[in-house]
Symmetry: C2
Subunit: 166 residues, 2 copies
DNA sequence: GGTCCGAATGATACTGAGTATCATTTGTTC
DNA sequence: GAACAAATGATACTCAGTATCATTCGGACC
């Protein structure tokens, strides 16, 4: 969940044009409750008969990712997905069954990264930290239903838990 | 760097056949000093006139990844690469300029993951933690040469630093 | 050593994500 | 309302990864 205006003002402040297609994509992104794939955005654009080219959607996603308002993450399946976030540093917990994503703050990771830099001599610039597991809903489901736990249909929903410290 | 026998015994112990192509791929993997892409393996196989099909290389990489002897990581560029590792849980520091990879142990990450589980209610199964930055060599280079720091040609080399605790 | 059978292979063809190109359109600045 | 660079979208392309399936092969058992 992110406000459309956040996306638009970020465009303006970075010296990029607020074109019609970009506004449209921003609206689509803002409407996404959880994480989404590029293909899903393309489908959404087509469904609403916006005349946006596929290339433009990829370009716009890249742009917002550069601006830090959208983050690209790699699912355990190997595919890619995006989440719209306020551009503060934080990480994601992803349900490997339904895809529900929750934000978490740094929780001491910065210290770990610093320590890694000290030990390895690397000048650490960025890190990637993603957690995968079962969300409470899916965990409950897995407990009640037969032990044959099949992945659910994936009603991806986003939410936020925990203070995004720092 | 990994020993060929580690790969082969892992095959055997998991009930998979030690076929000729798999031995060959294992040898190729063991010869890789740092991280490598699937395409690079394919090229290496072709260069040495081993008659291994492309599909088999992908299949074998997947297999070794399942067995935990090879880890697939996502480069900051968006591409994928593999590193051969002893199958103990650890993480990677990757030089964003030359690709040199260094192993690091858990360094308190397990605690962070546990804390995330507590706060979010997720049952955390796995996590992904990768660090990117400049290795000492590239950092020195960047300091001596013009401030116009272009990424170098990428002579990927692997090494290990720090106790892989746990 | 020979038989047998499922596992594994590789040739081929396919999918799907992402990108290059380039003539046309559009946002912004003056 | 020009003017001009930035952005678009149609098209065609590349490249990673995968499905298919007839053929081969490893290894278990005798
Ligand atoms: Mn987020
Ligand atoms: Mn490693
Ligand atoms: Zn779930
Ligand atoms: Zn380096």
């Amino acid at each position: 969940m992110i406000a459309v205006v956040s996306l638009l003002t970020a465009l303006d402040r970075s010296g990029h044009r607020a074109t019609e297609p970009r506004r449209a994509v921003a609206t689509l992104i803002a409407a996404q409750p959880g994480h989404f794939t590029a293909a899903e955005l393309v489908a959404a654009a087509r469904a609403r008969r916006l005349g946006i080219g596929r290339a433009t959607i990829f370009r716009t996603l890249d742009l917002f990712a550069e601006l830090g308002l959208v983050e690209r993450l790699e699912l355990p399946t190997g595919g890619h997905a995006y989440v719209a976030c306020e551009p503060t540093h934080h990480h994601h917990v992803v349900c490997s069954s339904c895809g529900r994503t929750v934000d978490v703050g740094d929780l001491g990771l910065a210290d770990v990264a610093r320590e890694v830099g000290r030990r390895t001599g690397y000048r650490i610039d960025t890190h990637r930290f993603e957690l995968y597991g079962l969300c409470p809903v899916c965990a409950a489901e897995a407990r009640t239903t037969e032990p044959a736990a099949e992945p659910a249909a994936r009603p991806a929903v986003g939410s936020t838990v925990g203070p995004a410290r720092r």
